[in-house]
């Protein structure tokens, strides 16, 4: 057995109020540690009500100074919560912070076991493991890495725009990448916004213009991120700037090309399939930037090599058919993902008939219907484009709170349904039914808006709509869409004939969310939204340092929350930039080149290309800047020539022996 190192270890067992002490006999654990682990170097073992409190930390600091402790073990909550706290306490007392180990006896013992005796015994084993491990810890210094002040914001919706503006106004450069020809996101498609009924474009376009003209913002629209390498403070991002076939420096945005273009195409992105656009187009009038793009899939020139109308009529000769995609490489310190959401595909609910019954519309389609700049200039009409509906049914929770589709509540469809009810009333005077299961109007001035819509005479039916059908059974139903619903307040089945049905469909993660997550090294939750670092306390950060998320990409939310998250993410980025450098966990791998035989077995293991082979000396080398500390090569090296700080073989092997209480009984011969 290795000889007993003469470290002086302090053990501190936390009550955590009753969270731990309620199940684990903390006094017994402390006494046990003091007695049984003495020969390993435990000189003091205390228990205290709240170790993470300032008093608790002072306990540690006092002991380090007075008893000359060289190692500290705190048996309390999860290292993800208070590892930093106790490391700082040690640092204040002059002990290297990496000589502190946290033993989790709350999340992994007291909260999950009921038998008090067993929980206490397990806590002792966990403390023993931590003590054996901490003896093998070595002092480490955090790796200081400079932060590149530039920031990449992915997604030009309201959240992305807010984040970009906040950082740019603080004087730092932002690259704002947007997949569509113009920034604005889904909000640009709306007519009014709830609850204030502000015209969506009126409050959005000023922000878009500000972002479009801001000296510190480089707008990269009609572009997508292809590759991301590096780590916090030093990301290298490759962006594909798709060819617009329009020379931005010459184009004045006059729109003649769009006017003259003979090819009409259904616009199923901005107009949600209700309106048309030309083969060369800008998605909407207030588009930022104003430069149009040529849709190669539908442009006659690219299909048959003829036409070229846009080129002929362009006053400044800005059209350039053989413009190629361009790969732009940018260096940034932090990245904010504000990639937004996809609308739930209402066709999946086949009994609501969307896609089969003409007069069933989705929420985005209705937004375009009611929008003055929309295909019907704001007139709410049926699919024939002429007749105004006399009665309209608005169905909530389409695809949400439904175990066949999405379990979660999409937060905005209730208010969206109420907004539609108001707009239909205002524009057509039709009778409006809203079919809901719970009316969720939780935020500021939301419920007041619900009261107002009630007073306007909207008929609310509480019940989950079973079916929308056009099989009328009697004169009252002929030629109408019949909504079959169980009215739970009236307690009976009802068949309500209406002219038009609007599906207030829910929000869903982007179809490519998983791939985008993998591109930036973050994961998605089971529902598919980007996973935040902590659902309550850290919603805009992710588990990957330097990558932040904002807006609906993190989960369904309304515009005020998206804006708030955009600003929050930018604040997190600004505090990183102002620190000028970031301290990286000193968890790294390194090669002892004396022992390395150049067998190259580890060379293929590193996805971060941190492992390189020196042909001349036939040995392997690890670049500490690129190494992320996963330890795969440490475990793989057949010669045992690669060691890893923070999670070394000695530490883990010692912890195994400690957990199995092999260090307690004198080891038999």
């Amino acid at each position: 057995m290795s000889e007993i190192k003469q470290e002086r270890v302090g053990v501190y067992v936390c009550h955590c109020g009753s969270n731990i002490a309620g199940v684990v006999d903390v006094v017994d654990v402390a006494n046990w540690a003091a007695e049984k682990l003495k020969h390993q170097g435990v000189v003091i073992a205390r228990e205290y009500k709240f170790m993470c409190s300032s008093l608790g930390q002072e306990l540690i600091e006092k002991d380090i100074k007075e008893l000359g402790l060289t190692r500290v073990v705190v048996a309390a909550c999860s290292p993800h919560l208070h590892e930093k706290t106790f490391r700082t306490a040690a640092k204040n007392a002059g002990l290297n912070p990496y000589l502190v180990e946290l033993a989790s006896i709350r999340e992994q013992v007291s909260w999950v076991h009921t038998d008090k005796a067993v929980a206490t015994e397990k806590s002792k084993a966990v403390v023993s493991g931590a003590v054996s491990r901490v003896i093998e810890n070595v002092p480490l210094e955090e790796l200081k890495v400079p932060i590149n002040p530039n920031t990449l914001v992915v997604g030009g919706g309201i959240a992305g725009i807010q984040a970009a503006l906040e950082i740019a106004n603080a004087g730092f450069h932002v690259y704002l990448v947007e997949r569509e020809p113009s920034i604005g996101g889904h909000m640009a498609q709306f007519d009014k916004t709830f609850p204030t009924l502000d015209c969506s474009a009126c409050i959005l376009t000023p922000r878009m213009v500000e972002a479009g003209t801001h000296p510190n913002i480089t707008l990269l629209t009609w572009s997508e991120v292809e590759k991301v390498t590096g780590f916090v403070g030093n990301f290298n991002v490759t962006i594909r700037k798709k060819a617009r076939c329009v020379k931005e420096e010459l184009c004045t945005g006059c729109g003649i090309c769009e006017e003259k273009c003979p090819k009409k195409v259904i616009d199923d992105v901005f107009e949600a399939g209700l309106g048309y656009r030309k083969a060369v187009y800008t998605p909407f009038a207030q588009a930022v930037p104003k430069y149009p793009v040529i849709d190669k899939a539908n442009c006659t020139y690219f299909l048959k090599g003829t036409c070229k109308a846009c080129e002929k009529f362009c006053p400044t000769g800005a059209i350039d058919f053989n413009q190629q995609d361009e790969l732009v490489n940018v260096e940034v310190g932090n990245i904010i993902l504000a990639t937004g959401y996809d609308l739930f595909d209402a066709r999946r609910v086949s009994n609501y008939g969307y896609g089969r019954l003409p007069n069933v519309f989705t929420s985005l389609e209705f937004e375009r219907l009611s929008n003055a700049a929309g295909p019907t200039n704001g007139n709410i009409v049926l699919r024939d484009g002429k007749t105004t509906p006399k009665s309209v049914g608005i169905i909530h929770c389409v695809g949400s709170r439904d175990k066949n589709f999405n379990n979660y509540c999409s937060v905005i469809c209730c208010m969206q349904g109420l907004k539609f009810a108001h707009l239909v009333h205002e524009r057509t005077g039709a009778t409006v039914y809203n079919f809901y299961i719970d009316m969720r109007t939780a935020y500021k001035a939301y419920d007041e808006f619900y009261q107002r819509v009630l007073e306007e005479g909207t008929l609310f039916v509480r019940g989950k709509v079973a079916e929308v059908t056009d099989a009328g059974r009697n004169e009252r139903e002929k030629g109408k869409l019949i909504i079959q619903v169980e009215d739970t307040l009236a307690g009976k089945q009802r068949r309500i004939p209406v002219d038009m049905v609007i599906l207030s469909s829910g929000l869903q993660p982007r179809a490519d969310a998983k791939e985008v997550g993998k591109l930036f090294g973050i994961s998605c939750s089971t529902d598919g939204w980007f996973t935040e670092k902590h659902p309550k306390l850290d919603p805009v950060a992710t588990m990957t340092e330097g990558i932040y998320i904002a807006g609906c990409a993190q989960g369904p939310k309304d515009i005020p929350s998206s804006v708030a998250q955009g600003a929050a993410a930018s604040a997190r980025v600004l505090d990183k930039i102002l620190q000028k450098e970031v301290a990286l966990e000193p968890v790294r791998a390194s090669v002892d080149q004396e022992m390395c035989s150049g067998c190259r077995i580890c060379n293929g293991l590193c996805p971060f290309n941190a492992i390189s082979f020196l042909e001349d000396r036939m040995v392997t080398e690890i670049n500490p800047a690129l190494c992320q500390g996963c330890g795969t090569c440490v475990a793989a090296c057949p010669a045992g020539a690669i060691s890893g700080t923070g999670f070394s073989n000695e530490q883990i092997l010692a912890q195994i022996d400690g957990l199995l209480l092999r260090n307690i009984e004198p080891v038999e011969a």
């Binding site: 035989s597 067998c599 077995i601 293929g604 057949p638």
Partner: protein, 331 residues
């Protein structure tokens, strides 16, 4: 010191094949240096010294004892303890003493089964099923033979060992080098290495001395060397799908086997500071497997039909597990 002033030298062989003894002779004329500088007092294979002669010596009077072979029966254990008592420097000489070697593979089966296999299987003509007995009365008196220990143990699991000299057998040029070193120490021209050190070997692995070219390895199939015709003489054997233990085996033999066209089977034992040799090979071979789906990985791993033999051929007794479960149950 003996009467003629020369330090005493002893060599003993426990559970071994005698190859280590031959390797000592294999240092050719240097054997004369041994004779010139040492007084060989105990060397059962070479001279007829008796145990009681050794018991009569004073403790620590033998300067250098090269002990090869694992501890299989109680006689081995007795001699190990005796020589430990009598020797100043006790060297675990060769793979058997260091980590059990081929005899150590017996630890895969219970001891009863070993004896049964030895004395009454197809190849043994034993119609009356006569088995050895630890003691047996004959007219002349009571005969004794050593009793088998339940599992074979390397030397350092029985007595405290000063130095380890791996290899099956240790290379003669390494033995010669150690002899020279000890001679220099006698003349105070050199210092003994720290206690417990491995001598007569390198501090890297076989690949360091192997002349074959090595690239990044992506293995789709493991094959036995005889199934590959012809074997590329210059390319790393592992890259050709042959499970070669070189990457995890200590250097010192100038990659004798790979240079001769065969894969290294690991007789020089683990590299410096390695806790379990087999574990190093498990992680080495799985690191070069180029597959992600479990079924595909299993198909590739089927290319190593006997994983225990592949990764623990020489060091089962010296590994963390030491023996298979059946062997433990009846210990």
């Amino acid at each position: 010191m003996t009467s003629n002033g020369k330090p005493k030298f002893a060599m003993y062989w426990a559970a071994s094949c005698g190859g280590c003894e031959i390797a000592v002779l294999n240092i050719h004329e240097k054997i004369l240096d041994v004779d010139a500088n040492f007084d060989v007092v105990f060397w059962p294979v070479a001279m007829d010294a008796k145990y009681k002669d050794v018991e009569a010596m004073e403790d620590g009077s033998i300067l250098l004892t090269l002990f090869n072979g694992g501890i299989r029966n109680n006689e081995n254990e007795h001699l190990a303890k005796l020589l430990r008592q009598k020797s100043k420097i006790l060297v675990a000489f060769g793979s058997c003493a260091c980590e059990g070697c081929i005899p150590g593979l017996a630890n895969l089966s219970p001891v009863g089964e070993i004896v049964h296999t030895a004395f009454s299987t197809l190849s043994t003509d034993n119609p009356h099923e006569i088995y050895p007995r630890v003691s047996f009365d004959v007219p002349e008196g009571e005969l004794h033979i050593p009793k088998l220990e339940p599992i074979l143990r390397p030397l350092d699991q029985v007595v405290d060992v000063d130095y380890y000299m791996p290899g099956c057998p240790p290379e003669s040029h390494q033995i010669a080098a150690v002899v020279d070193l000890v001679i220099k120490v006698l003349r105070d021209e050199a210092q003994l290495p720290p206690k417990g050190a491995v001598i007569g070997a390198g501090n890297s692995t076989v690949c360091d001395e192997c002349k074959r070219t090595r690239n990044v390895k992506f293995i789709r199939e493991f094959k036995r060397i005889q199934d590959i015709a012809p074997v590329d003489p210059t390319l790393c054997l592992l890259e050709q799908g042959i499970p070669c233990n070189g990457p995890a085996t200590r250097s010192g033999c100038n990659a004798r086997c790979p240079s001769a066209g065969a894969q290294c089977i690991g007789c020089y034992g683990p590299a410096e500071g390695v806790v379990d040799y087999g574990a190093r090979l498990i992680t080495a071979f799985s690191s070069v497997v180029d597959a992600r789906e479990p079924e595909e990985i299993e198909r590739i791993l089927d290319g190593i039909p006997d994983p225990v033999g592949q990764v623990y051929r020489f060091n089962l007794a010296g590994s963390l597990m030491k023996a298979a479960k059946p062997a433990w149950q009846k210990a």
